[in-house]
């Protein structure tokens, strides 16, 4: 009769029966039998000594090249597809589960439009539901109406194992689960070297978790480069790494304490774990990623590498006309507008650039000048129109020297209105006037990539 059931139900009793005892007393034959019974869970959960002994016995039975034993090597890398997340579990009963690792990993996958897989532990599904609820209460519009279900990682065939009656606690999985579902929603992929363990309580924020020494160790075994822990436990985790020889330079970073919203507590973790969409990713994906990057430095870097080249190669009339200007000289105003200098510079690609700034924008101007090549920053001091026109005229004349005005491109996108109007009056006839309009994201006030519209005309 064809069976609908899968491998044996993995309960606490079953695990004690199969994985009890000690590694020291386990024969290769015994290890072989244990590995067979553990199926796909074996490489993830069994101690490497058990798998090694199982392989030894298999080689004895089948000969050195008899069968492929590569799937009895300890798992070394977590799946990192869209929707993937992974949780670290501490073996709290080393006495009775001596053949299991001190800490082990359960790779999972969030799936849109699904319910939780029936083979997952019921307690894990409850934590997953609470994560979703907490994110929705953050007024996260992205998750409010969508259904998300958690499942064992399909590529690892772990769904064959029925874990539904495991009575373990999964509270420390909050951070990983929340990061996983958000990334899945954003269609982003996780970085397999970024790990986290943290429990969230609504009235307390991110709170402490157990078993950090074992967790950081297993993370290092899986090639982790950074591990996020609750802020109060950062020292404890660093000490654990040090005691274990540094664990390959594993960085310990904090999940911020005292934050009322879960997403705020996960901010730095989310920034690290998300693999930036590549240049060939769909525009919408890149746009959404750009708008949620938390730090300006990362934003600039990402824009330059993954968005600007495409914007620059646009086929609008303005862009085509810009390309016809050889060795353009760019003049632009430094303002509070996000990234506008970089945008103008990136599109025009000047041979020389003049940044005009007032005292309020001195710091930004210097930063821009340091980052951009062939770039000079000059401060202006006037505030009234007539005075500004005179001052701008002088600065531009000094900048241009003998260069004909046809090579001058003046960017009018940034700056306060009085500055723009004065600058327009100050620039010589025959120069090119450039203006870029973009949509702005209301929450971040950042320009939305791929909404740039360029206007270019000659001042007559």
């Amino acid at each position: 009769m064809k069976e609908a059931t899968v491998n044996e139900k993995v309960t606490d009793t079953w695990l004690t029966k199969v994985c009890g005892g000690s590694v020291r007393e386990l024969s290769p034959r015994g290890a072989y039998k244990v590995a067979c019974r553990m199926g796909r869970l074996g490489p993830w959960w069994l101690r490497k000594e058990v798998l090694e002994a199982a392989r030894e016995h298999a080689r004895r039975l089948f000969g050195p090249q008899g069968i492929d034993l590569s799937n009895w090597e300890p798992a070394g890398r977590v799946p990192a597809e869209c929707g993937s997340c992974w949780i670290v579990l501490v073996n709290k009963d080393l006495e009775h589960l001596g053949l299991l690792r001190p800490a082990f990993v359960l790779p999972l996958r969030w799936q849109s439009g699904r319910t939780h897989h029936p083979h997952l532990p019921a307690s894990l599904c409850k934590v997953a539901d609470r994560v979703l609820e907490a994110l929705r209460q953050d007024q996260d519009d992205e998750l409010t109406t969508e259904q998300w279900g958690l499942a064992p990682a399909p590529e690892e065939l772990l769904a064959k194992h029925d874990l539904s009656e495991l009575g373990w606690s999964f509270e420390s999985a909050w951070a990983s689960l929340a990061g996983g579902v958000l990334l899945a929603r954003w269609q982003g992929k996780p970085d397999a070297t970024v790990w986290a363990s943290g429990e969230w309580k609504e009235d307390a924020g991110m709170i402490e978790v157990n078993g950090l020494p074992a967790k950081v160790q297993v993370a290092a075994e899986f090639g982790a480069k950074v591990f996020f822990v609750p802020e109060e436990q950062r020292e404890e985790a660093c000490a654990a790494c040090k005691e274990q020889g540094g664990l390959g330079g594993l960085e310990i970073e904090p999940l911020a304490a005292g934050k009322p919203k879960l997403r705020d507590a996960l901010r730095d973790y989310l920034a690290r774990i998300e693999v930036p969409p590549a240049r060939d990713a769909p525009r919408e994906i890149r746009q959404q990623y750009f708008l949620r990057i938390p730090t300006d430095d990362l934003v600039r870097e990402y824009y330059k590498k993954n968005i600007l080249p495409e914007v620059r190669e646009g086929d609008s009339a303005a862009i085509r006309d810009l390309r016809s200007v050889e060795g353009p000289h760019l003049v632009t105003l430094v303002s509070k507008g996000f990234f506008l200098v970089d945008l103008a510079y990136g599109v025009v690609r000047p041979s020389q650039c003049l940044l005009l700034y007032n005292s309020e924008m001195a710091e930004e101007a210097k930063a821009n000048a340091n980052q951009l090549t062939h770039c000079t920053a000059r401060e202006f001091f006037q505030q009234e129109h007539t005075d500004l026109v005179e001052e701008f005229s002088q600065l531009i004349q000094d900048f241009l020297g003998d260069t004909p005005p046809e090579k001058l491109v003046v960017d009018m996108t940034s700056g306060q209105r009085i500055m723009n109007l004065s600058l327009y009056d100050a620039v010589p006839r025959g120069c090119q006037i450039l203006c870029c309009q973009t949509e702005f994201a209301p929450k971040t006030r950042r320009p939305k990539p791929f909404t740039e519209t360029f206007h270019l005309w000659k001042k007559s």
Binding site: M1, I67, L157
Partner: protein, 376 residues
Amino acid sequence: MNGYKPMDEIWLEELREALADPALEAFDRAEPCGEEARRAAYNLAAALGRCRVFGVVIPPEMEGTLPLPMATVAAEEAATVVTEWAEEAQALPTKWDSASPEEADAMVAEVVESLMDSYFVMEVIWECYERALQENDPQMPQLEQALDKFGGAVETFDKILQQPEQLAILATVCSLPLLENFRKCLADEYRAILPWWLDGTLEAAAEQVARVVEATLPSAETWRRVREWVRREPRELATPRRHRAAAVLSVPWAYPVAAEATSVTPPIREFLEWMSPDGRWRARLSIPSMAKEETPLPVEFLAGEQPAVELQGTRVRLAGVEAQIDAEGVARFVWSAIRQAFSDPDAELILEVGEEPIEWVALGPDVPEQHPNEGK
């Protein structure tokens, strides 16, 4: 395909009636299923499954797989029904004792028909599940849950019926032509792996019982002694089971491929085990997930979980292919040789040990296990 037989028309008619049941309209209206709809879904699954298993040629207008919501409901209903059968099976010995011969025959025949019904339904549900997997149907988890429950109920039902007392009673069905008729009706592909009640288990149990009955008068006292005997000697009733060649023949070939293989399948697919008639030793054959022509098939001979080194040098025959037990208690066969011994996946995979070959008893999953750390 078995082609048309008169019974085919009867089964097709039953399928037609099941499809026409107005209670199935509840699924079109996507409304919650009442009792009638649940029963209608179950009946349709059983009727369709019967046609599948018996190789009935279904006309195109009636052919198809169950829609997933209907299959889910059918599986849930089947779990309920099989659970009721299991409870009745617990009481079978008591009822059988007080039944007339005709009633007793009807009782055991009904049990076998119940087993067949659950078999039919399982085929159809599984068919729907495989389709849902391919299509990545978002409602698949509900079906999986129902299927797990149904499978669990079937497993319990099987276990109860294979208890010595129930098995001895069920074996009396061998006096009827029922089992043979069912076997004859099976489509070719379903003969490859027979369900346990059709694979000779009941016949072997009947033989065991007959040996005891031969020495006594067929009276109530005789049956009382039989019951005492089967309670004392459960292991001997396990002997009728035989493994099938399908376990070996279904192992895929490991062809060399240019691209790197990324399978996550564990290296060992399953064990087949046997026990010596006196219960002193076990033999464990490891079936790999993939094999090449020269891949060995090792059979470990064990006393508890220790190698049966005292059997070193003993001749062993597996499917008629010979080997010898080495100093580590292992007899090695070559997979290709064992494969060549069979053309029929339904053929019996028999292990014989000793100069005068004695057949060892095939073991199923319900034999008590010893923990790997015990007996050291």
